[in-house]
């Protein structure tokens, strides 16, 4: 019985079809007026005043191009997602939350293997090994490597200037972790390990996590 009703409804649905589309839209610029939808490009700005578009990821792209050498590059949309925090635009743009969780676990895992290689199993859980991947150190890595301009997020309070309180450290650290997560998901484990060994856990590089952690106290 259900079958017959279903088929009759289906036939009715296919004969009567009301479609309504609004094709004309007005995006308002300038002073805010209630009821009018604002133009995104006007208010989607990061704390540095940079507009939300693909141009801002150029520094990150350049930073990665030497790492990936002649292999295919990561696509721009993913790089923009890596640089976008959940706080930006009320989460309506692709954001890096889960990439960061994933990358963070990988970083922790690789750092613990690095700690065992250099200091033995007993060095795990020591302050030195914890400091290596603290929020502050990860954020400083982003600043030292000049990747901090094109990061999209929203400051909790515009008047707070201390980066450890206003959320900047936390957001920057998330971006670095998301970069690791994005590399893993897009390029696999080998390239990500190369990135971690050459850029993050490289004692000869002054901008590596090891040397940053030594200087931050």
């Amino acid at each position: 019985m259900f079958q017959s009703i279903r088929s009759s409804i289906h036939s009715q649905l296919s004969t009567i079809r009301i479609t309504s589309y609004r094709n004309i839209g007005y995006l308002h610029r300038g002073e805010r007026i209630r009821g009018l939808i604002r133009d995104e490009s006007e208010y989607l700005l990061n704390p540095n005043g940079l507009k939300y578009n693909l141009e801002s990821i150029l520094p990150l792209k350049q930073y990665l191009s030497t790492l990936l050498e002649n292999k295919s590059q990561i696509n721009d949309e993913l790089l923009l997602q890596i640089s976008t925090h959940k706080s930006f635009a009320h989460g309506s743009k692709p954001f890096n939350e889960k990439l960061a969780i994933y990358g963070g676990h990988f970083l922790k895992y690789k750092t613990s293997l690095f700690a065992i290689q250099t200091g033995g199993i007993d060095s795990l859980g020591s302050k030195t090994s914890k400091d290596l991947i603290s929020r502050k150190v990860l954020a400083e890595f982003i600043r030292k490597n000049e990747l901090n301009q094109g990061i999209y997020w929203k400051k909790r309070d515009q008047l707070l200037t201390d980066s450890s309180i206003n959320g900047e450290d936390s957001v920057f650290a998330t971006v670095l972790e998301a970069l690791i997560g994005g590399l893993l998901l897009n390029k696999g484990k080998l390239i990500t390990e190369k990135f971690i060994n050459e850029r993050l856990l490289n004692e000869t590089d002054p901008n590596s996590l090891i040397n940053i952690a030594k200087n931050i106290k």
Binding site: I9, K98, F106, L124
Partner: protein
């Protein structure tokens, strides 16, 4: 051979320990802590413990996995004595577990919302789950015989090396005795101790074999192989609204609920079947005893279809033949 017989026949003779420094090489970057002056049990003594050898065989651990390391994995930091403890092994095992379980879930269900992902991860590797693995699946025993009984039973000292050793929370209350000291911070309950043991055994596997692949396989065999139903972990507050936000974000036509089938509208037990459509595409379908209920259920069904999407290729980034699949844009914020 003679020496083994000698020491086992005289149960009171003390266990011989040798000081091994294999885990702590000198380093400039990391300063060594707690375990540097602790002793690691020799293979000869460890091999006399029947529970230890049995556990090693039962878990099918490779020969590189020394019995001394297994003893260490079962010795929690709070246990008495001067044996090297599992503090570092536990941290290593935890890092291995959280990475591989997260990787597995994210590759299998790339669109899983974070709260569901966290619940799923903890149902694999929370203290309670690992306690179950250690106690009921691996059959690790706790060393709870009082020392006096051990002496009276003439139990060889090595015997307890194969059991889980920790300082338990003392819950025994006796009438007339008031406990004045507060709970020591080293006291842990047995489920935490089991979890420490399981994590440390995994950490010990990497230390012994230096092979990430073997450790990964061990985690897949013993932890990830457990069955888990993710579709029951979802809870939506405003499913219809969330679905319409999702369609907007993904550039799909606005979702519309359509009544597909109904029966007994005028009875006290009506039933409606509603489908949610975006343009021509059906996103989800479900039933309900009122139109509204059916619509909400259909939206939940549509959202679950979206969030529980499984890609066809099932490789994870740490596989050698990994092929990238989709990268999720994040959950929908209503």
């Amino acid at each position: 051979m003679q020496s083994i017989i000698k020491s086992s026949s005289s149960s009171s003779s003390s266990v011989t320990f040798i000081r091994i420094r294999q885990f702590s090489t000198s380093s400039t970057l990391f300063n060594n802590l707690s375990n540097s002056n602790k002793t690691i049990v020799s293979e000869e003594d460890a091999s006399k413990s029947a529970p230890l050898v049995a556990l090693h065989k039962r878990l099918n651990l490779p020969n590189d996995y020394k019995l001394g390391t297994l003893t260490r994995a079962l010795t929690c930091r709070s246990s008495r004595g001067n044996l090297a403890n599992n503090y570092g092994l536990n941290i290593l095992g935890k890092n291995f577990l959280s990475y591989y379980v997260n990787e597995y879930l994210l590759s299998k269900y790339p669109r899983l919302p974070l709260p569901v992902l966290n619940t799923a991860v903890s149902s694999y590797i929370s203290t309670e789950s690992l306690h179950n693995v250690g106690k009921y699946s691996w059959g690790i025993e706790i060393d709870e015989t009082p020392i006096l009984n051990k002496i009276l039973n003439e139990e060889p000292k090595e015997y307890s090396l194969g059991k889980l050793r920790f300082l338990p929370i003392n819950q025994i209350e006796e009438t007339g005795i008031t406990k004045l000291t507060s709970k020591s911070k080293d006291e842990i309950n047995s489920s935490s101790a089991y979890a420490l043991g399981v994590r440390s055994i995994i950490g010990g596997l990497y230390i012994s074999t230096q092979s990430e692949d073997l450790t990964k396989k061990f985690i897949y065999d013993h932890i990830i192989s457990r069955k888990l139903d993710l579709s029951k972990m979802f809870e939506f507050e405003q499913p219809t609204r969330e679905l319409s936000r999702l369609c907007k974000r993904e550039g799909l036509t606005k979702p519309i609920a359509k009544l597909l089938v109904e029966n007994g509208r005028l009875s006290d037990k009506p039933i409606y079947v509603v489908g949610v459509f975006s343009g021509e595409e059906k996103l989800g379908e479900s039933y309900g005893s009122s139109l509204n209920e059916a619509k909400i259920r259909a939206s939940v069904n549509a959202l679950k279809n979206w969030y529980l999407y499984k890609p066809l290729n099932n490789s994870v980034p740490s596989d050698k033949d990994y092929k990238p699949s989709i990268i999720d844009h994040g959950i929908v914020i209503v």
